[in-house]
Amino acid sequence: MFKIVKKEILAENTKRFDIEAKWIAKKCLPGQFVILRIDEKGERIPLTIADFDRNRGIITIVVQEVGKTTFQLGEMNKGDEILDFIGPLGNSSEIEKFGKVICIGGGVGIAPIYPIARALKEKGNNITSIIGAKTKNLLFWEEKMKKVSDEVIVTTDDGGYGRKGVVTIPLKEILEKEKVDRVVAIGPPIMMKFAAKTTLPYKVKTIASLNSIMVDGTGMCGACRCKIGEETRFACVDGPEFDAHLVDFDLLISRQKMYLSEEKKSLERHRGEI
């Protein structure tokens, strides 16, 4: 059992949990993920690690409530225990001195971009972070991002806070203006797809972290298979980060919809119970 030692509401339907997981906290690196299962009847869902504290043995995850499992998790509190918490899984981000790096976090993707930006900053990179959300009340961790970035640009789709529009607008402006050595984008697949499209003409290496459906997370099932160039790869063991210019985002989007009707049914059933 894995204990929740802290819960914090970060934004609308977005919650932060600090979970006691010594082994994982000792080992994990930015870019890796965990798989959790809340209880005996629960499903296994992957979540990218948002932060870690090696001394205290704590893993931080940020969860946006979209389906049954994430809503159920959102109802849990400090002191509650999660049945299974497995990791760290997947490969870690490539952390080198690249020079100028743009870190893009879209929606709940702000959480996993944070430890990556921090590690890149510690390596001596110049970091511009672009964080975006649909509306102001979905935005979080602006202050945290400021601490690990040289500059932070905030966008909201409706213009209610920061710049109006999507993250690719300031991205394009920077690319026009100066030499960028690397872009790391984490967020909804559609955002990552357009971030990749934006950087392609400038030939800037762009990394995306794929949030595919997974079961075991150790390369056994192939639920998370994705197309990278001409090859089929598993996001769990070959990723989750890939060269965004090679990713077939349309396939990722389509595969994420595999269980849409079942997910709806499961959530409705859950809501009926509480």
Binding site: R44, T69, V215, C221
Partner: protein, 454 residues
Amino acid sequence: MRTPMPEQDSKERTKNFNEVAFGYDEEDAVEEANRCLNCKKPLCVKGCPVEIDISCFIRFIKEKKFKEAISKIKEKNTLPGICGRVCPQETQCEQLCILGKKGEPVAIGRLERFAADWERKKGVKIPKKIGTTDKVAVVGSGPAGLTCAAELAKLGYSVTIFESLHKTGGVLMYGIPEFRMPKAIVEAEISYIQQIGVEIKTDVVVGKSITVDELLQEYDAVFIGTGAGLPMFMHIPNENLNGVYSANEFLTRVNLMNAYKFPEYDTPVRVGQRVAVVGAGNVAMDSARTSLRLGAEQVFIVYRRSEKEMPARKEEVEHAKEEGVRFMLLINPVKIFGDEQGFVKRMECIRMRLGEPDESGRRRPLPIKGSEFTMDVDTVIVAIGQRPNPLVPKTIKGLEIGKHGNIITDEDGRTSIDAVFAGGDIATGAATVISAMGMGKKSAEAIDRYIREK
């Protein structure tokens, strides 16, 4: 003629996940045991990878000494309820039975299962623990790991199993369906292994959560039994459409995650009306029969060779046929088509003929030009084999690995690294439960020698 196995009716059983074969009762078992000639030099035992004294345990059953029978089996085999169900006895012990020359061999597997089930119902006796200070880590809790751990515990070692999934049992839990291998049996036999002193840690992904090098700092030896968990795909166009599953994913969802009880359990599985299962091994039969139970109207086994070459156990093929699975033989998929939403709709196949034997000794299937046709399907399950899972081997520096990703070992499970042993599918490539157990056992003996001589 052997005593028939009582079974669930084939029409009834496709509507549930309950075990198909009920097992012998005492009367059936004694009747079947009485067929055994108790040969002076029994051949059957030579066919058993774990060398059970078959003739002796059958004699005990004849004499209705069931307790003695199961004790005799357990001297060599800690997982009798599992082996009695899923061992391919027909190519092992039973194949060598002298009665098989003229008629049917003694049903050794069914008798083994009977003895194990009898004991479980009566309450399992736990032998006393003998403690030593030497510690062994076992990676993976499938048949190889469980057997290795149990054998070492019996020798007095302090053994810890590390399992990456949340449940113990490996393929016995995620792969083999409830109707063939009830989870309660697996759990009971694992519980026995725990009671003789083996500690099990689930949710630990060795290679990620902790490395083998780190384990070696704390343990005197490490046994790797991480199985053949890497699913193979056909590499044909549109294989990534929704509705195309690896058999591993399909079976894991149903068996490990209980997707057949969705929405009571949270994990879903999608099975349409027309299911094509590609391949003809035991995993393919399990996938096909599971699809029927999940409500598919028509289920096809699509196999590129003929019935003779099918790798599945005969019993499994018979069961699948009885339940209404249709066999499309000498047919190979070439392309999959989907709808606008990215779901499978059709599959194009080509007819095959058999040519000269290939390296496997089976006749090589060759496509017949111009014989392409399409079939309407809404689910495709790819069951063409599994490769050793590279996750653990990849993270051990200096470990010698074969071309299919298998760990190279000698016949006692020694790897290229001192104190590291391996066995089961991770060393041999995909094989059977019992061969993995045989190697787990041999490795346990080698680990014992290694630690004593150190």
